[in-house]
């Protein structure tokens, strides 16, 4: 295995290539440019988050190399798209590059199509044992993430074109967070793909992203959900920008664990066993994913209650969304105890992870659809 043959360790910084340093310089330059343009509009939180982002993304890129071209690609192409607008929203439907590629709606359609193609490639690879098809799957997934992120960036800009007071970060309603969910879940997957040097799990993880994409398309075509809506006063808060992404790292991880759980269950019955990674690997991915998800979900819930303390006057109101977050959290706490303390392994835990997906799904979607409460910002 690759991991067992690492060369004698040099210090971390010595191992960075010139491209790594260029990447960091690029981030610093970008942040400096943003500050020079907008610092008068930014408060101290905005500025410190921007600076923290430089550090976080540098480290992320240094540790996970493909992040560097991804981020540079997103930045360059988004800037290109934005400059193509000439400050006029209508150009999204007129200028060639915007209309067919980079207007937020087009980019998101590309993202959707690429995710579905990636799913098919992974399945083709599983069916034919073709390593090449799996590589194509990974490539398509990266491309989908690129387009999705460009879509979000451009959408952010478009919201300001509608009217400066409408402008806001595109993670404020169900439509937008579904895009975020697809991107985060696929990034998490690609991370595990690299960590375990194994691409077969893609055939199981990508379908949940395709399902999200399917929902997104239905939501856009049937309900015109893609229209940018202004923010109600309660959502105009800094907390939203960190609460929502943290939550989706949790949701994404739990979904990923459940999909790997399905692979585990099949493999443990001998189905596709020879084409899937070993059971121990699947089990390990499931555990890691739930652990990461649990950590971020805890943070997200705490951030949510900090926000609630500011917006609703109480850190905990037993509103359905909050309560379901607690239920999800308790569920995975129990899962972790069983595994870590009792040392239980095997199909029972995999089943539980799969059931966990339904609990998570209910907290994420079901609450919005069936229950009413304070979190009614994202109703279907």
């Amino acid at each position: 295995m690759e991991l067992t043959q690492t060369a004698p360790q040099e210090s971390f910084f010595k191992r960075l290539s010139w491209f790594d340093w260029l990447f960091a310089a690029f981030l610093i330059g970008g942040a400096g440019y943003a500050l020079s343009l907008y610092s008068s509009y930014m408060n101290v939180y905005d500025k410190s988050i921007l600076l923290a982002a430089v550090g976080v993304f540098s480290i992320l890129g240094w540790n996970w190399k493909p992040i560097r071209p991804l981020m540079i690609g997103v930045a360059v192409l988004s800037m290109f798209a934005i400059s193509n607008y000439h400050g006029d929203l209508a150009r999204g439907n007129q200028a060639f590059f915007l209309k067919y590629l980079f207007a937020s709606q087009s980019a998101i359609m590309w993202m959707s199509a690429l995710f579905i193609m990636a799913t098919l490639s992974y399945w083709l690879s599983l069916a034919t044992r073709s390593e090449f098809a799996a590589k194509v799957g990974s490539g398509l997934t990266w491309a989908a993430i690129l387009m999705g992120l460009i879509g979000l960036m451009v959408r952010w800009y478009e919201s300001y074109l509608i009217s400066p007071d409408v402008g806001h970060i595109p993670i404020s309603n169900l439509y937008e967070v579904f895009i975020l969910f697809s991107i985060i879940t696929s990034l998490l997957y690609l991370h595990y793909e690299r960590l375990y040097n194994n691409r077969q799990m893609g055939a199981f993880v990508l379908p949940v992203i395709s399902a999200a994409v399917g929902f997104l398309l239905w939501y856009a075509f049937d309900r015109q959900a893609q229209e940018i809506q202004p923010l109600v006063p309660a959502l105009q808060s800094y907390w939203m920008k960190i609460h929502v992404p943290a939550n989706f790292i949790g949701y994404g991880s739990f979904s990923l664990a459940a999909m790997v759980g399905i692979a585990y269950l099949l493999a443990s019955k001998g189905i596709l066993a020879s084409r899937l990674p070993k059971l121990e690997v699947l089990d390990d991915v499931m555990y890691k994913s739930i652990a990461v998800g649990f950590g971020f979900f805890t943070i997200a819930t705490i951030l949510g209650s900090l926000w609630a303390a500011e917006a609703w006057g109480g850190y905990w109101s037993w509103d359905p969304k909050e309560t379901w977050a607690l239920i999800v959290w308790l569920n995975y706490a129990a899962w972790l105890h069983i595994r870590l303390v009792k040392g239980l392994r095997g199909p029972m835990l995999a089943w539980w992870a799969v059931v966990g997906l339904f609990v998570t799904l209910f907290a994420f979607l079901g609450v919005n659809m069936f229950l009413s409460g304070l979190h009614s910002y994202g109703t279907l």
Binding site: M1, L3, T4, Q9, S163, D165, V166, S172, N173, L174, R223, Q224, A225, E227, Q229, P230, L231, V232, P233, A234, L235, Q236, S237, E280, V281, D284, V292, F294, G295, T298, I299, I302, S305, E310, A311, W312, G313, G314, Y315, W316, W318, T323, L326, I327, L330, N331, A333, A334, H337, I338, K342, V367, L371, S372, G373, L374, S376, Y377, G378, T379
Partner: protein, 674 residues
């Protein structure tokens, strides 16, 4: 202590600190929590009675299902969780701390050989220094022990012991968070209620008349309550909603609302709302500070956090046209009202009380459709609700609306919600008035059609004419004359038609379509009913046109054109007139002018437990990350002349650990080879 009680308390201790029990508690808590999300909490009790019926209402009330999270049984489960977690910490902490400190340097050669992860190497020289250097390089801390027989050295090393602190942090955090929440809970109040020291007030009485037993002193440990203050007014209390009533919490200061601001997006949704408030000293009435309160930016004063929560009406003055729906007269009368107060009117020789309940200057509706019941309930005026996505298409501000109840002398009331401006529905203009009998019901809309001048007068005149039996004969005569023209028609054909027309008009004037249909049902054989109904409708419609001409003539208005628009107008009018019989009140109020007065909804809390809860949360995050992302690993190297025994263990068996073992094995084998 007797022996049996000792074993009993021991087994309680065993149970409380057992994993099985903890997991069961987590599961039970999760399931119990679901109940409160499925059943809407803290609604007015009447809604539950309507939903479940009296029997189940009582059962559920007894179980506390309308406020699950504050019931004794739910709090008991939480208390068990705290107790269980505490005993678990108590039981595990000593050994955890010991583990953290210890290097296990006393491990024997034999036991190391029994480790699942071990390897042996034969060597030539001694490599102790190189091995120590390797361990340090790898981040391990070690302890060195010479073997008893002097024949070698044991290096006992470890890394990531902080992992154990993770356990202590996480589980203490749970206890701390629960204790913080306990401080902020209403348990003390509940105990006072149980002993009859405090009582919920259920009557709808002015705050000043609420008796002391339902009032809480300003120094309450914690509370969370609401108050609505109209512009220009002030408040020194908040209301705590409990069960089917409330309690009054006296505040240590007074809040005055000077002005309320609201800004809207171009779509009409609220963009920002804010209150200019002043804090006044209770004793002297002197102003202490002034502040503008906005959503997401609470003001903290004297340990009390003040939040902008919602807004509403603070007594808007309304000027209305009252239309008597059943009188032949078609002139409106003036009505004046103030939101949140009552006034009396007489209509149809009966006394009615008008209770004005609300006024909204904006209504965002999906035009082209009648507003659905659900939409009407989604009020964008509170921080707590609001719809960011909603029905995206066709959202429009359809202007002001106001709500009122009409209560008759017997105390029966219907509730109305009327728009001030006409709405375009199915390409034609109407005045809309929604009515319902119960608060939870959907509104049923009656639509009054507008005439060519976009006014209600045409409809009201036609209505007056059709509901006045004394005009029916003349309408019928004119209709018969115009329907059957030409000189050679026998007189009795015309009279016959006129007679049946009078009959139809009389029936319709008494009870709308329902009366016509009852008549048909009663007097016409089943086989001919359809045809008869069609004939009657035709007669009604055509004669109504004559009635409309007469009505306009009488009012000195120009004669209506005989075109399609008028045809629709007549049909719509007939539908409305027929609906009047189910409208529930003899008057329709049309809003003419208003002078808006806003009120701001504030929420005030004192929650001394908040910082404890957040402190505990911080600890929780630290703990979880320490547990997941710092792996504890132990490593032993038993170095003897010509031989190295290598063993590893971890409290977590993961793939990472397996990989790490393999890596060390190779590296160590390389080090000791030469």
């Amino acid at each position: 202590m007797s022996k049996s009680s000792a074993t009993f308390s021991k087994s309680v201790y065993e149970l409380m600190s057992s994993m099985r029990f903890a997991i069961s508690l987590l599961t039970v808590l999760a399931i119990a929590s679901i109940i409160g999300t499925v059943l809407k909490q803290n609604e007015p009790y009447l809604n539950y009675v309507l939903q479940f019926g009296q029997y189940w209402f009582t059962v559920f009330k007894w179980l506390g299902l309308y406020d699950v999270y504050r019931t004794t049984w739910f709090v008991t489960i939480l208390a068990f969780l705290v107790a269980s977690t505490s005993t678990c910490i108590y039981r595990n902490m000593p050994s955890m701390l010991r583990e953290m400190r210890s290097y296990r340097e006393l491990a024997s050669e034999n036991s190391l050989r029994h480790f699942q992860h071990h390897a042996e190497f034969t060597t030539h020289g001694t490599h102790l220094e190189a091995l120590i250097q390797y361990l340090t390089e790898q981040g391990y801390r070690y302890k060195q022990r010479a073997l008893d027989n002097g024949a070698g050295t044991l290096l006992a090393a470890k890394v990531g012991s902080v992992n154990r602190l993770g356990y202590i942090f996480t589980h203490s955090a749970i206890v701390i968070i629960c204790l913080g929440a306990l401080i902020d809970s209403n348990i003390p109040l509940k105990i006072e209620q149980t002993f009859g020291l405090k009582r919920i007030e259920t009557r709808d009485i002015p705050e000043s008349q609420v008796p002391a037993i339902s009032r809480l002193a300003p120094n309450s440990l914690s509370f969370r309550g609401n108050v609505t203050i109209p512009e220009g007014a002030s408040a020194d209390v908040v209301f705590l909603n409990i069960g089917d009533g409330y309690m009054v919490q006296d505040l240590p200061f007074t809040i005055a609302l000077k002005k309320f601001h609201i800004e809207h997006y171009s779509t009409g949704q609220p963009k920002m709302f804010a209150s200019d408030i002043a804090i006044l000293d209770n004793a002297t009435g002197k102003q202490i500070l002034e502040h503008t309160l906005t959503v997401n930016h609470p003001l903290i004063y004297d340990g009390v956090a003040i939040f902008q929560a919602s807004f509403g009406d603070g007594g808007t003055k309304l000027k209305m046209n009252g239309w008597n729906l059943f009188s032949a007269s078609s002139k409106p009368f003036d009505v004046n009202g103030v939101v949140n107060s009552k006034t009396k009117i007489t209509a149809d020789n009966q006394q009615y009380t008008l209770e004005f309940t609300d006024f909204r200057p904006f209504n965002i509706e999906n035009t082209g459709q009648l507003p659905s019941a659900e939409q009407r309930n989604k009020d964008a005026r509170s921080v707590m609700v609001g719809n960011a996505v909603g029905d995206k298409s066709n959202l429009h501000n359809v202007g002001p609306s106001f709500q009122y109840k009409v209560r008759d002398a017997q105390g029966q009331a219907h509730e109305y919600s009327n728009y001030m401006l006409p709405l375009l529905v199915d390409k034609r203009w109407y005045m809309l008035s929604g009515v319902r009998n119960n608060p939870g019901d959907p509104l049923h809309y009656i639509r009054f059609p507008l005439d060519q001048d976009r006014r209600l007068d045409g409809f009201m005149r036609l209505r007056g004419m059709l509901l006045d039996p004394s005009t029916h004969a003349e309408i019928a005569r004119r209709f018969a004359a115009s329907a059957i023209q030409g000189g050679n028609v026998p007189v009795d054909v015309r009279t016959k038609l006129a007679d049946s027309t009078t009959k139809v008009l009389d029936l319709f004037g008494k009870g709308g379509y329902q009366a016509l249909s009852d008549f048909i049902e009663k007097h016409i054989p089943a086989a001919e009913r359809d045809r008869a109904a069609q004939t009657y409708l035709k007669i009604l419609e055509l004669s109504s046109f004559e009635a409309y001409i007469m009505a306009e003539q009488k009012a000195g208005a120009p004669a209506p054109k005989a075109d399609e628009d008028t045809g629709w107008f007549i049909r719509d009018s007939l539908n409305s007139i027929s609906d009047i019989f189910f409208y529930g009140a003899p008057v329709y109020l049309q809003l003419a002018e208003y002078d808006q007065v806003n009120a701001s909804g504030l929420q005030l809390t004192r929650s001394p437990g908040e910082n404890i809860v957040f402190g505990g949360s911080g600890l929780l995050v630290l703990g979880i990350f320490a547990m997941f992302f710092i792996r504890e690993r132990r490593l032993w190297l038993l170095v003897k002349p010509g031989q190295v025994l290598f063993a590893m263990s971890s409290n977590r068996k993961t793939l990472d650990f397996e990989n790490e073992f393999e890596r060390h094995k190779q590296r160590i084998s390389a080090i000791v080879k030469d």
